[in-house]
Subunit: 420 residues, 2 copies
Amino acid sequence: MMEETTKSGKFGRKVVQVHEAQQKLMAYASPLEMENVPIRQSAGRRLAEDITAPHPFPAFNRSGMDGYAVIAADTGAARDEETVWLRVVDEIPCGFVSEAKITPGTAARIMTGAQVPEGADAVVMLEATMTREEDGVSWVGVRTVIQAGRNVTPRGFEIRSGDKVLEAGRQITAGDIAVLAAFGIAEIPVIRRPKAAIFATGSELLGVGDPLQPGKIRDSNSPMLEVLIREAGGEPVMLGAIADDLELARTKVEMALEAYDLVITIGGVSVGDYDIMGDLIREDPDGMLFNKVAMRPGSVTTAAVRGGTPIIALSGNPGACFVGFHLFAYPVLAAMQGAPSPFLPEGVAVLAKDYQKVNNFTRFVRARLELQDGVMHAYPASIDESSVMVTIKDSDCLLVVSPDERGLIAGSKVRFIKLP
Amino acid sequence: MMEETTKSGKFGRKVVQVHEAQQKLMAYASPLEMENVPIRQSAGRRLAEDITAPHPFPAFNRSGMDGYAVIAADTGAARDEETVWLRVVDEIPCGFVSEAKITPGTAARIMTGAQVPEGADAVVMLEATMTREEDGVSWVGVRTVIQAGRNVTPRGFEIRSGDKVLEAGRQITAGDIAVLAAFGIAEIPVIRRPKAAIFATGSELLGVGDPLQPGKIRDSNSPMLEVLIREAGGEPVMLGAIADDLELARTKVEMALEAYDLVITIGGVSVGDYDIMGDLIREDPDGMLFNKVAMRPGSVTTAAVRGGTPIIALSGNPGACFVGFHLFAYPVLAAMQGAPSPFLPEGVAVLAKDYQKVNNFTRFVRARLELQDGVMHAYPASIDESSVMVTIKDSDCLLVVSPDERGLIAGSKVRFIKLP
């Protein structure tokens, strides 16, 4: 029985580099179908198509000030400290269009944001004017020369009709919502959320509500992944822990592969574990994408594809599960939503303290970024063993320590992957 | 009528500095009540109390490897390239507790994550062993000397019982969820979400679904604020646009002040606008917090308090509305949720291109951050007039340009506020 385990082939796995493993998976992460959602539910979703402006913005010459719409040339006489008096022919609140046409010698009172009337080419701010009434006629006195165009935002100043304003694949932000609302786009074409099923494996796992039992642990990975998947724009589907009935387990995973866009299993990938992936792959050996990656933690991370649907088997070690999610599941979810750059962004920081653990595989070290006087510093977690859970919560990046480093000294440059 | 407007007192506003205005508001932003939410709904919420560990973690001495639990001293004889043979007395899968006690000369087969049996003080990895069967007895051969404690994560290694693991006020992340789940904390004490009512003002405003009409614009600020409030942990309550019936408008705002934790109005703060805040304050002049702030854009941003509830009147200019939200409404929402540092974080970056617009008020310039070889660079938006909406979407920070700058040269250091 023990002999059997050591011969199961898990020792003989072929190691692939992280980049290669990612590329193999990404071949099965195409953008999903489009759906329309109301604008109020669209924040955080990814656009399925480019959005172009249906009209210029602003749609009319807009006053940038409270004051008087005038013909700039009329104010020329104010050059010699003379007050130029113009007859006030209308008062234009926001949202109303004046029927008056401004002709030489006339002006219209106008509010910020209102449409500049025909004929006028500038707005004099209220504070630079005085008024008087004479025989029922209002006059405005202008004391400064004003240039044509002053305090007027011309039609199409921000965006012209037909301009591309938002790109397909873009994740919709609060600022994007303002743009979409301004253009009256009430239904937003987005890519539907990928449904990602999560299975935990391991008979040692208790639920979060269960009292602790000797030798057992509560499943902390599934609830963590549920949040990470949601934050990555996916729709997590919690399918619970797969326990002892192996035949039932296989059926469940197969059903999930048919029903969902991505299946993630946690645990069951180490030497000596029940080999759920091996079981699945045995029937279709070509479906195996990789089963050993040149990385720490999580070298046993495994991925396969079945009927076009990817399945990623993450390590049950919390640190390895966390790293594996961000390297492999995150980009799959992002690509399925049409993200133009599905991988997490990388950067360079200055290492804030020595880091000595070098491995023959690339190491992904949990760390915390801190900007100090314009320079980004990275603080590696003091304990970052694969099995350690507690330092995950304080990490906002993963340092990438390649095997050819001989230990990193504080002050040296280090590459990092920024966590979402 | 026009004369009346200019005398309404809006010209004579007393200017306060941003910091002072923020402090005045924050006096009315105390943490709200606690509520318990299921762990699955707790991500993003803020903890109402410290979380301490109800038990050590790990809760038992845990094997970090698949292999054999041994007494380290037994392997000493392997020093001379001799194989030490130990009798295998048990096989311990994850989640099970062995009843065997490891005594000198014996070992137990053990899986990663399983509880190390009594008597054993180290685990030899499977790959460093060989096995044989003799008369129904299993033996494991160990070829290397192993130190006590090797491949064993001791009880309480990550967290000791009673340790504070998560601080009150902390915003719950995916990693925190893992911690909470591991400790079996299924109901999480959080601060309830502040309810923030939004009113738009202005008869020029159309809804997002309305066809464009001459001189009018669609309300882009309310949908933007709805997203920003939600992202800030608040619960936005959309109360629509306040149009012509001023008496009704005042009643609506007064009702909102009684029903919600924060009221935000958009527009109606410029010279010449209907002065909704003035109307409210007239009855209770002591409630005015500020009505002019030494900032661009958004100098007319106004705030008051009534019955202990703050009301913030943001400018209707999209840029000013966006800046005003982040300087004033964001920290109020964060403080109401118990955030220990409710203000958005500040930092220093290198200016990537010249910025010349200096004002006699502090300027908050929409900009984009980009990390280049460890150094943070800031790119100010090319058009950042108060009225401009389109550059909001590409901004992830606000540069803080103080009035004593004489224009900023590319390469100089610049202070910024990081947007959420």
